[in-house]
Symmetry: C2
Subunit: 291 residues, 2 copies
């Protein structure tokens, strides 16, 4: 007689946005128990549908105790964090002791903070930090066209142009997104994030861009070569589709297997409603653009 | 007995901003007659201090006639152009005939339009298009520190970081500007322009940037390798200094001999008032960062 081992309970440290709940659903569907620790002021109230607790961002001691007493060894860090002012951090003793290291990690930006935290949970507390994509392959972009619309020949060339731009800035560890339209790179993402980049494309002179009536141009997002995929994978969702549509773009192309998609069906539905394409790029296609 | 030949009269096609007048002054100071053709709705009214005429942007026939009857063989295209709606272009027959080519040039962005126009004036009409820097070396950034403030060691490293970023995007013909602060590239310029890039740095999380109280980080602008220097050289002015200060930057570094400075004394004064440095980079220093 063999015993089928039950998968280990998954701890989910939940920041903002719909990804934490999507992950919890996918993990449960795969027969895995979950326990969500929601960051107050960030996590969505929907986490209450699962076994959960709330902590303030600075209550690191309580956060660790909650996960340990829930019996979680594997944890996922997922969802965005807005930086509260320090008076609202709710620092406990453990959080306070960690502050100098947090300050050091933050010098390398959001990536640095997440990398530092992952290392802290593993080395100092024996957790195993896993990536959302290791738990729920359903959250990963497939190598496929998700939409009715498909890129035109010019838009295929714009995808390659934007891939080259994204690779160039990724090689310098700067950012992951680029927008190209009719052969011209219109915008590059550094610290401001994809949504802000798309907002500014919407403000560019009309001759350079598409429009909601005659969409043209593409958004490409690729992970940076040094990116800690467990904690900071490129992500697209309905918001990305809506901002891309408002910027007059014809579509979005991201790395298949290397991008989280919050609710792929909803993304495809939103893109179809706006006439946009959403395409998962093979690694081979991306690597053809490496200089 | 030798005859000293008088320099040829200079035609100045004037767009927006203070550069056309600064150029006219510098040319006159060098003993050269000038004739300014101001683009209506763009050029500054100060051009009235010089022999001048006004034309609408689309009145290409009139523009050519004015320059020819003023006896100008050398022309400089200088100053920004906003794109008016087509009903206000004031198209004449020559302008109308040129429209299909203008549309083609504009597909390559502002650079493409300026390159196309320069070629049109030379090949189709026998003018000699010269760069402002060829007329008035005083408008060029010197290889020097213009200000009381100087970069700290970290800011010197940030200059090199931003140079690498600017070179990478320049090599792909994308843009000319980059902002780096404490080792992180915060923003890259594509089609939106330097001022918009600086505005968004001002909106980034405070941990990543300097502040007007404790300035940190640098703006670097370099010309793109393929850039048509005669008509589209990187430019800085008081506005650049003010936007950099508002973004919390510690200073600005640009290519010496490869950047136009609108009124260097006023730029230095504005930078000193805000505590910023303004530095002219040697070509050798820039080339040390080429990968």
């Amino acid at each position: 007689m063999t015993t089928v081992e039950k998968p280990r309970k998954l701890g989910i440290a939940a920041g903002a946005g719909p990804l934490p709940v999507a992950l919890a659903e996918a993990a449960q569907a795969a027969g895995r128990e979950v326990f969500i620790v929601g960051i107050e002021g960030a996590a969505n109230e929907d986490i209450a549908r699962f076994p959960h607790a709330w902590v303030k961002l600075g209550a690191m001691g309580e956060f660790l105790r909650l996960l340990k007493s829930a019996g979680c060894q594997d944890i996922v860090l997922i969802g965005g964090l807005r930086r509260p002012d320090i008076s609202k951090l709710g620092l406990d003793v453990t959080g306070m002791k960690l502050l100098p290291r947090v300050a050091r990690w933050m010098k390398e930006g959001d990536d640095g903070l997440l990398r530092g935290l992952a290392e802290y949970f593993e080395k100092d507390h024996g957790f195993h930090v896993v990536g959302a994509h290791e738990i729920a392959a359903s959250l990963l972009m497939p190598e496929a066209l998700l939409t009715k619309a498909a890129p035109s020949d010019q838009q295929e060339r714009d995808i390659d142009t934007a891939i080259r731009a994204a690779l160039a800035i990724g090689a310098l560890d700067i950012g992951q997104g680029a927008v190209a339209c009719r052969g011209i790179v219109l915008a590059l993402e550094a610290a401001e994030g994809t949504d802000e980049m798309l907002h500014r494309v919407a403000r560019l002179p009309a001759e350079l861009t598409g429009s909601p009536e005659v969409p043209d141009g593409v958004l490409v997002k690729l992970s940076k070569p040094g990116q800690e995929r467990r904690v900071d994978m490129p992500t697209i969702g309905i918001q990305t589709v809506e901002n891309a549509a408002a910027a007059g773009l014809a579509g979005i192309a991201v790395e298949a297997g290397g991008t989280l998609v919050v609710d792929g069906e909803a993304v495809a539905r939103a893109a179809n409603a706006k006439g946009l394409f959403v395409l998962g790029l093979s690694r081979a296609r991306i690597e053809m653009q490496v200089p």
